[in-house]
Amino acid sequence: MKPCALAGFASEAPTFSSLEALPGDLSDWLVSFLPDIEWLRWLTASLLAIVLILTVFGLTFAMLTVTERKLLGRFQNRYGPNRVRVFGIRVFGFFQPFADAVKALTKEDIVPAAADKVLHLLAPVCLVAFSLLGFAVLPYGREMTLLGNLDAALLFFFAATSASELAIFMAGWSSRNKYALLSAMRALAQLISYELPLLLVAVPAVMLAGTLSLQGIVLSQADWLGGILPHWNILTPWGFAGALIFYIAALAESNRCPFDLPEGESEIIAGFLTEYSGFKYALFFMGEYFGMAALAGLGVTLFLGGWTAPCEFLQFIPSYLWFYLKLVAVVLSFMWMRATLLRLRMDQLMRLSWKFLVPLALVNLGNAAFWQFSSNWEGAWLAARWAISLAVAIVPFLLLAKTLTAGLGPRQYRYA
C-alpha cells in the first residue's frame, strides 16, 4: 500500500484525460527535483498533497461564506454583500472573505474575566483540528486520498469528526456564560443523538461494498447501467432512504438550520460562540464549515458515487472535479435549507432522532441486507425485489411520520 496515493498515482490509473492525471503528474514533477532519497520524496509528496487539500478547502470555505450570504440574500429578496473591492474591482462582492479575515485578525480578542482561559483558547483550535481530520480519508478522486487506501477509513472518519463535540462543549463550558452553558448542553445532546443515525445509515453501504475503505465503497458504485444510469447507492430504495436520513443527520451534526439549536440566535444569543470574538470566532466558523464540507464529502462518497461520473461519456471530466462539484452541491443545498426552514425545539429534535431516524435506519439496515441477498434475482423476481425493497423503505417512514405529527395539523377557524 502506498502511503500517499497522489505521488504514485500517475503510474497506475488508466488515463482518461491528461487533466485526470494532472495532480499526480504535477506532484511527481515537483518531487523529481529532490535528491533520490525515498523517504524524502515520500514526505514531500505527502506534504504537497496536504497543502493542496488545505488550500482548496480553505478557499472553498472562504467562498462558501460569501456564497451563503449572497444566496441567503437572494432567497430573501435582497442583494447580500457586494461592496468589497480590491484595486477597484468588485467582482460581485466575492472579495468579502478577505475583508472578513482582516477584520477578524485585527479585532480585539476578548476573554471573559471568569473564563477558563486555557480551554477557552483551545476550543476553537480543537474544533478546526478535529474537523480537518475527516479530510484525511475522503477519496477525492481516482486513487486520490491523503492517507492512501486506508482499510478502516470510515471508522477513522467517525472517530475523528465526532471529537468535535468535545470542542463545542469545551467552548460552552469554559466561557462561563449561562447562555453558552445552555448551548453546550444542547450541543452535546444533539450531536451524540445524531451520531447514531449517521453511523447506522453508513453501515449498509459498507455491507454492500464489503469494505470499510471509502475508496472501496466508491469503486463498488463505479458502474453504469447502459452507460447512462449510474450504479450509485442513492438510486436503490435502501440507498435513497439512507441518503435522506444521512442528509438530515448531517444537517444536525453540522449545527445547520433547522437543527441550529446550539447557536439558536433568537433564543440563546449565539450559544457557545457568545463569548468569542475576533479570530477565535473566525476559527469556529471555519471549523463548522470544514465539518460541514467533510460530512457532505462522506455523504457523496457513500450515496452519490463519490468521484464517479453520472454518465459513462462524462468521464472526460476529471474524477476529482466530480467529487468537488457534488460536495459543493450538497453544501449549497444545506444553505437552501437554512433559508427555508424553522428551528426545532430541543425535545422535538431528540424525538426526531430517537423515535424516527434511528428506527428507520435500523429498518434500512435490514432492507440493505435483503437487497444484497436478492442481488441475483431476475425477471419477475427483479420486480419483486424492487417492490419489497420500496415497501420496506416507505411503509415504516409513513407510519413513523404519523406519530411525529400526531395531534398537529391545520385548523378551521370560526367567525363571530
Binding site: 424553522l342 425545539r345 367567525y415
Partner: protein, 387 residues
C-alpha cells in the same frame, strides 16, 4: 486559575450540588437580547431548560409620556402618541383624537371618518405583517419570512410617507378630521397594492408557512391562555380572540362608522400560539376587505371639520375615556380637563403592557425556546409598554 477574578476564589462561592437534580439556573434574558423586541427583560428561573419562574422587568424605555402630555396643549400631544406603539402610529393618533373629540364634543366629517378607517386598517396590516415576520424570526427562520413581510410593509410605508410626509411618525390625525386630504390617485394605487402585491403575499405566506410541520410543532399547544384568565387579566385584541372570546371593539362599540362595513371577526378555539398567529393572518384578510369597501364608498366632502379648533383647544371641564380597536388590542385614552389648554390628567391604556401581564402564566412549564415564541406572539412594542 487562581486569579482574583476567578469565580472559585470569590467569597461565598458554593459548588454545584452533586445530587442528580442539581440547582435551578437563574437567567436574565434581556434587556439586550435579539428576541425581546426592544429593551424588555425577563428574569427567568430555569430547571434544565424548563421555565419554573419568570418575572418580566420593564421600564427601560420610560419617557414620561403621560406627564409630558399634561404640560402640553392638546394638539401638541398628537406627535407624542406616534411614539407609543411606533409600528402603528395612525391608530394611536386615532385613539387620542377620538378621546379629545369626545371630550370637546367635536363632530367629524363623513369623508374623514372613511379615511380614518382606511388608514387605521392600513396600520393594522402593517402591524400584523411585522408581527408575523418577527414571530417567525423568533422561530429561527434566518430572516426569510421577516424580510418578505417587511417588503410588503415597505410598500405600505411608501404610501403612508407620500400621504403624511413620514414613514412611521405620521402625526396625521387632527381633532375633527385629518391633516390633509387623499388624492384619487393615491387610493387607486393603494387598491392596486392590496389586489396584487399584498394578496400575493398573503397567499405565499399561507402556502409556505401556515401548514409547515415544523411551524405546527413549534406553535400548536404552546403557551395556552385560557379564556377565563384572558378576561380576568383584561387581555384584548387578537390575543383575546385567539382564546375564543368574541370581543372586538369595532363590533362592540361600532365607533366611527364601523357599523357600515361588512367584515368578520375570526376566533380561535385553543388559545395557543398558533391561534394567535392565525388570528393575525385572518385579520389581515378582513382588513383588506374593510379598506376596499371604504375606498368604494368614500364620499366627497371635507377632510377636516372647518369649524374644528385644533390650536388652543380648551375643552370644558370634565373627563372621558375613549377607546378604539388597535392592532394590538384596546388602545384607550382617559382625559381629564379642568378647562385649561392642557389636560389635567392624561392616561393611556396600553394594550401591549396589559397583554404582557399573563406572560408568566403562559410560559410556566415550557422551555426557554417556547418562552421566546410566546413573547413574540403577545406582540409588544416597548414604546407602548414603558411610555
Amino acid at each position: 486559575m487562581n486569579s482574583a477574578n476567578d469565580i472559585f476564589s470569590q467569597p461565598g462561592f458554593q459548588p454545584v450540588h452533586d445530587d442528580f437534580h442539581g440547582d435551578l439556573l437563574e437567567l436574565s434574558i434581556g434587556p439586550h437580547h435579539p428576541s425581546t423586541h426592544g429593551v424588555f427583560r425577563m428574569n427567568a428561573t430555569l430547571d434544565g431548560e424548563v421555565v419554573v419562574k419568570l418575572k418580566p422587568v420593564f421600564g427601560y424605555l420610560h419617557r414620561n409620556h403621560e406627564k409630558l402630555a399634561e404640560q402640553n396643549s392638546y394638539l401638541a400631544s398628537i406627535p407624542y402618541t406616534d411614539r407609543l406603539d411606533y409600528l402603528s402610529s395612525l391608530t394611536n393618533n386615532w385613539a387620542y383624537v377620538h378621546a379629545v373629540e369626545k371630550l370637546a364634543g367635536l363632530a367629524v366629517p363623513e369623508r374623514a371618518e372613511y379615511l380614518r378607517v382606511i388608514l387605521g386598517e392600513l396600520a393594522r396590516l402593517i402591524n400584523h405583517c411585522c408581527l408575523v415576520g418577527f414571530l417567525l424570526n423568533d422561530l429561527g427562520t434566518s430572516f426569510t419570512p421577516l424580510l418578505y413581510s417587511l417588503r410588503e410593509r415597505e410598500r405600505m410605508l411608501d404610501l403612508i410617507e407620500e400621504l403624511t410626509g413620514s414613514r412611521m411618525m405620521c402625526n396625521f390625525m387632527r381633532f375633527g378630521g385629518l391633516r390633509t386630504d387623499v388624492s384619487a390617485d393615491w387610493l387607486a394605487r393603494l387598491e392596486h397594492f392590496l389586489d396584487h402585491q399584498f394578496a400575493r403575499y398573503l397567499r405565499e405566506q399561507d402556502a409556505l408557512l401556515t401548514g409547515n410541520e415544523i411551524l405546527l410543532a413549534r406553535l400548536q399547544h404552546v403557551g395556552i391562555l385560557s379564556p377565563k384568565l384572558a378576561v380576568q387579566a383584561g387581555i384584548t385584541g387578537p390575543m383575546l380572540r385567539a382564546s375564543g372570546v368574541d370581543y372586538d371593539i369595532r363590533k362592540v362599540d361600532q365607533y366611527g362608522i364601523y357599523d357600515r362595513f361588512d367584515f368578520r371577526v375570526p376566533l380561535g378555539d385553543h388559545g395557543d400560539t398558533y391561534d394567535r398567529y392565525m388570528m393575525r393572518m385572518l385579520e389581515m384578510h378582513e382588513s383588506v376587505k374593510i379598506i376596499k369597501q371604504a375606498i368604494r364608498d368614500l364620499p366627497v366632502g371635507d377632510f377636516l371639520d372647518p369649524k374644528a379648533k385644533n390650536r388652543g383647544l380648551r375643552p370644558k371641564a370634565g373627563s372621558c375615556y375613549a377607546r378604539i380597536e388597535g392592532p394590538k388590542g384596546e388602545i384607550g385614552f382617559h382625559l381629564v380637563s379642568d378647562g385649561s389648554a392642557n389636560p389635567y390628567r392624561y392616561r393611556v391604556r396600553p394594550p401591549s403592557l396589559i397583554n404582557l401581564t399573563v406572560l408568566e402564566d403562559m410560559c410556566l412549564g415550557r422551555t426557554l425556546a417556547d418562552t421566546i415564541v410566546i413573547l413574540g406572539s403577545v406582540d409588544i412594542v416597548l414604546g407602548e409598554v414603558d411610555r
